[in-house]
Amino acid sequence: MDWRRALHLYLAYSLVFLAAPLAAISQTKPPNTKPAGIAAPQKGYGSPSAPITMEVFSDYQCPSCRSLFEITLRPMIDDYVGAGKVYLLHRDFPLPAHKFGYEAARWANAAGSLGRDQFAKVEAALYDNQASWSNDGNIEKFVAAALSAADLKRVQKLMEGCQASPSASLLGAQFRKVATAEPGCAFDVFIEQDRALGQRVPVQATPTYVFSYKGQRLPPGSGQISWPILKQFFDSLLGQ
């Protein structure tokens, strides 16, 4: 075969393969049920009327989510959330690979049903001590240390139906599956609602973040980002 013929084939194959189509990604609708007698958990930081909203889909046991929270979101909360420029919203997306991630989300939601301050304290405690409770599953110890005695009592009361480990279906036999909340733990409904919202993004890994600017959604991003780079983006977006 001379070089011209070989080159014909090479170029022709390269061009043909480039035309391969992308596979469609399935989407799931969120469940609408809401447990009676329990306030919806407040999992936001700052003012919902801020021009930028950042929704972060995360799993409390995921190391990258911890890094994002500790390295990027903490300074952001102190700076841009405090200044009313950004509204930060936590969304639960516990992954089946993490044994205690779902349970940690239940505790955070229970704290959030008391108020956003309690949620913020528990979320920080969960991330600060992730390495510890990820080993032994003793989440309550750190929740107790983060809340006042009165708040802890209320959270423990709310968590009464949540003592059993989440079932295999809730943990998600498949990553893309959104489970129907089971009777027992009231907070599973809220977690599943967040997970269903995540499926619509679609969240393919944690942490995944979605920005909205004046109510309009931007394409999602995922992984670790540093605060200076995120700040640069916010400044640019706010300058529009």
């Binding site: 070089w3 014909h8 170029l11 061009l15 309009q216 394409p219 780079i229 640019s236 977006l237």
Partner: protein, 177 residues
């Protein structure tokens, strides 16, 4: 097929390959520079915002310090635009195709590294939210193959064209008598 006809087919395939690469780079630059929201009109400020958003994706690769992330995010899309136009023009094709092949090979290396270390991030290659995975590796590999084919074609057709010109310019033996 005669040598002349074969050479013509090579040139046509080379043209198609070059145009395909140009379209890929122009599209890649467009998706990174277009306004992040449809309600935002095109302007210098909108491009800066889009490049700042691209910076988030560059940062998520966890390869570069913040200062370099910003530089890469602001320089890469304009360079892709330039490269797309350069390929489209066909000017100095051996050089442009070599630069293209090296750049795409670099992209492929970064994507493979990201996949191998298990980072679950969005590629950012074409402005969308496609995750880094096997499909991106296959796609970038095909781009590398195409770029190498165009580069090879550019070098070989040049050499072949030179040989033909030299052959035609030499006096025939009968003429020498």
């Amino acid at each position: 097929m005669t040598q002349r006809a074969s050479s013509k087919v090579v040139r046509i395939l080379l043209l198609l390959g070059r145009l395909a690469l140009a379209v890929v780079f122009l599209y890649a630059a467009y998706t990174k520079m277009r306004p992040v929201l449809p309600s935002i009109p095109w302007s210098v400020a909108s491009i800066k915002t889009s490049l700042a958003m691209f910076g988030l994706q560059v940062d998520s690769y966890e390869l570069l310090p913040a200062s370099l992330v910003s530089a890469v995010a602001h320089l890469l899309p304009p360079f892709e635009l330039f490269l797309g136009l350069w390929l489209l023009s066909g000017f100095a094709l051996r050089l442009s195709s070599t630069v293209t092949a090296l750049l795409i090979a670099g992209f492929l290396g970064v994507v493979v590294r990201t996949y191998m270390v298990g980072l679950k991030i969005h590629c950012g290659c074409f402005g969308g939210s496609e995750p880094v995975g096997p499909w991106e590796i296959i796609r970038d590999s095909l781009f590398v193959l195409l770029a190498l084919a165009v580069m090879l074609g550019a070098f070989l057709t040049r050499r072949s064209h030179g040989a033909e010109v030299r052959a035609e310019s030499q006096p025939s033996p009968s003429g020498a008598d």
